[in-house]
Amino acid sequence: MTDTTKKIGLFAIVGLLIVLTGVIQSWNTALQILNMGLISAIMALGVNLQWGFAGLFNVGIMGFVALGGLATVLVSTDPLPEAWSAGGFRILLALVLGAATVVAAVLSYARLAKGKARTLAMLAILVVGFFLYRWVFDPAVEAVEAINPAMAGNIGGLGLPVVLAWPVGGLLAAGVAWIIGKTALGLRSDYLAIATLGIAEIIIAVMKNEDWLARGVKNVIGLPRPVPYEIDLQQSTAFVDRATSFGLTATTASTLWVKLLYAGLFTVVLLILLWMAQKALHSPWGRMMRAIRDNEVASEAMGKDVTRRHLQVFILGSAVCGIAGAMMTTLDGQLTPGTYQPLRFTFLIWVMVIVGGSGNNLGAVLGGFLIWFLWVQVEPLGQALMQVITYGMADDSALKAHLLDSTAHMRLLTMGLVLLLVLRFSPRGLIPEK
C-alpha cells in the first residue's frame, strides 16, 4: 500500500511541478515540458528495456533517436519524382551493391578454408566492391543533390501521413539495432557499449553528410503535422469563438490547443508502450530476461539462448527509442542533424533511467518527466541564482557578466550532480525494481 502511495505521490509531485510552471511561467512552457517529457519517458522506457530488463549497456541511444527523425522525413515529406529519375534508383542500386559486397565478404570468410587465400579473397571482394559502389554511387548522388539544392537536393519522401513515420522510425531503428546486435552481441556479449557509442556517432555523421538522404546539415524544415496549424485555427471562427468563451486570445488558444493535441497523441503512444512493457515484464519472457540478467551462467546451463534473448531485447528497446525519435522530430516539425549531441540524447536518457529506477517501467517514465523538467527549468533557476549571487557585484564587473552568461551551462552540472546523488543515496532509483 505504501508502495502505491509513494508512486502516486511521486507522479503527483511531477504533475504539480508542471502545473506550477503553467501558473508561474506560462502554460505554453508547461505544455512544452509535458510534450517533451512524454517523449523522454518513451525513450527512458526503451533504455529501461535494455538496461533494466537485460543489463545491456547501450550508449548509442542518440543514433536510434536520430534514425526515428530520419524516418519522419523519409515517410512524410513530398515525393520528388525528378530526384528519383535523376539518380534515386541508382543510389538504391549502389546501396544494394554495397550491402552485397559486405555479405559476399562475410560469406567468403565463413565458407572458404582458413588461410592466406581467404584473407586475400575477402580483401579483394571488399576493395572491388567498394570501388564499384563508389562508381555507381557518386554520380547518382551528384545528380540528386544538383536538383534545386536550395530547397531540396535530396530524394524526398513518400508523402504519407506523418503519424505513420512513428512505427517506421521504430522499424528503422530496429533494423540498425539488429545489425549492431548481430555484430556486437553475437561476437561476444561484451563490446556493446563501445560499439553503440561509435555507431551513434556514425549515424549522425551519415545524416549530416549524405545530403541526398535528408539534406544533411541544410536541415529539413516544415515537416507535415498530425495536428492542425495554429494559423488555420486562428482563421476558423468556430475556434476563435470558443477561445473567447474561455477568455483567451485566438493566438494563445491556438498554440495551447495544438500542444494539447500533441500531448494527447503522445500520451496514447506512451500508454500503449508502457502497457506493453509492463506486460512484457510480467510475462514468462520478462521473467526469463531477468533470470538471465541475474544469473547468466545458470540460465545458459538451463538451455536458454542468452545471445538471442539479448538480441531481442536490444532490438525492442532500440525500436522504442526510434519511435520516440520520430515523435520528437514530428513535434519539432524539422530535422536538424547538427543538434544531436550524445550528452543530450544518450547520457541524459541514462540519467532518467537511473534516477527513475532501473528495471521499473514506471520508474523510467517518472525519471523521463522529472529529469526533463529539471533540464528545462535549471536554466531559469540558474539565472535567478546567479542574479542573487552577483547581486552585490558592480554592474560592470567582468565576473558578473561572465557568471550571468554562463548559466546556460549549469544544466550539465546539475544533471551530473543529480545522477551522482541518486546513485549514491538511492542507488536503485526513485521507484526501485521489486
Binding site: G55, S189, D190, Y191, R293, E296, S358
Partner: protein, 274 residues
C-alpha cells in the same frame, strides 16, 4: 539480485568497459569472545565462526597451533574447513569466539596486512603470484613492506629455489605449475616471516614436483620458520609434519604428531584410505 545495490551489475560482463577480478579478499578481524586455552608460537585458539556477521558457523571450537621451527599440517575430508581454519588465523573470518596469538601477543584484532608486518606470511591456494610480472619483480613485491636492503633474502630465496634464479627475468605467468608455487612461496618468504601459512601448496602439481616442494618446505622449517600448511595429500604431508590436525566439519577430530596420526587406525581408515 544482490542485497547491496552497488554490487548489482545487472549481469554485466562487459569486459570492454570494465575489468574483472576486483578484490575478493574477505577481511574480518576481531572476536566476540576471547579464549585462551593453550600456548604455542602461533595459535588459533578455540575458534568458532563463519564468513560475515550473519554467515553460518564453519568452525566450531577449532584450535590450530604451530611451534617455532615446526611443521603443522591440517588435513581432513573435503569441506571440513581446513582452509577456513587457516584463513581464520590470518584475519579473514568472522570469529564469534576464540583468539589468535603470535609469539605470545594477541593479534586477533590486526588486519591481514598488519599480521604480515608482525611476521606472518600467507600463500593463497590460487592466484598466488603476479602473473604479468617477472619472477624477480614478484619477489620484490613480496618485500614491499621492507625498507631495509633485502638482497640477502633474495639470495636466500634463489638458493632455496635455484630454478627461479635462472628464470628471474621471465614473466611468472609463463612458468610451470610447480615453479609458480615456488614463486608464491618465495614471495611470502621475502618478508622474512616467522610463520609461513601455505594453503594446499601442492594442488595440481605432479608427484615428483610435490616431493620436491615438500623437501623445500622442510628446509624452510629448518631455517627456523614455523610452517602451517593445509594439504590434500594427507599421507605425504603427515610424513613430514611435526604436528597434525585432522578436522571434521570444522572441529578438531584428531590431533597428534604426524607419526601418531599415521599410525592411528581410525585416522588411517577414515582419511588415509586404509
Amino acid at each position: 539480485m544482490s542485497s547491496n545495490p552497488y554490487q548489482d551489475g545487472r549481469g554485466n560482463k562487459d569486459r570492454t568497459i570494465t575489468k574483472s577480478g576486483g578484490g575478493t579478499l574477505n577481511v574480518d578481524t576481531g572476536t566476540e569472545q576471547d579464549k585462551h586455552t593453550g600456548e604455542a608460537f602461533l595459535i588459533g585458539d578455540s575458534m568458532t565462526g563463519g564468513y560475515g556477521k550473519t554467515g553460518p558457523d564453519i568452525l566450531h571450537d577449532c584450535t590450530i597451533a604451530v611451534n617455532k621451527g615446526e611443521i603443522a599440517v591440517i588435513v581432513g575430508p573435503n569441506g571440513a574447513g581446513k582452509s577456513t581454519a587457516m584463513k581464520a588465523t590470518f584475519g579473514m573470518l568472522h570469529l564469534r569466539a576464540g583468539s589468535v596469538r603470535l609469539d605470545g601477543q594477541d593479534i586477533t584484532r590486526l588486519s591481514p596486512q598488519a599480521r604480515v608486518r608482525q611476521g606472518m606470511g600467507f600463500v593463497p591456494q590460487t592466484s598466488n603470484i603476479f602473473t604479468s610480472m617477472t619472477v624477480q619483480e614478484n619477489l620484490e613485491m613480496g618485500a614491499f613492506i621492507r625498507t631495509d636492503d633485502f638482497s640477502d633474502t633474495l639470495a636466500q630465496v634463489y638458493n632455496l629455489f635455484p630454478i627461479l634464479k635462472d628464470k628471474r627475468h621471465q614473466a611468472a605467468g609463463e612458468l610451470s605449475g610447480g615453479q609458480r608455487q615456488q614463486v608464491a612461496v618465495g614471495r611470502a618468504l621475502m618478508t622474512q616471516p616467522k610463520v609461513l601459512l601455505l594453503d594446499e601448496p601442492t594442488a595440481g602439481v605432479s608427484p615428483i614436483v610435490m616431493d620436491e616442494l615438500f623437501d623445500r618446505i622442510i628446509e624452510v622449517a629448518r631455517s627456523g620458520i614455523s610452517v602451517l600448511m593445509v594439504e590434500q595429500n594427507a599421507r605425504q604431508a603427515l610424513e613430514i609434519a611435526d604436528k597434525g590436525y585432522v578436522l571434521v566439519q570444522g572441529a578438531n577430530a584428531h590431533t597428534g604428531t604426524g607419526k601418531e596420526l599415521l599410525a592411528d587406525p581410525e585416522v588411517r581408515q577414515s582419511f588415509l584410505g586404509g
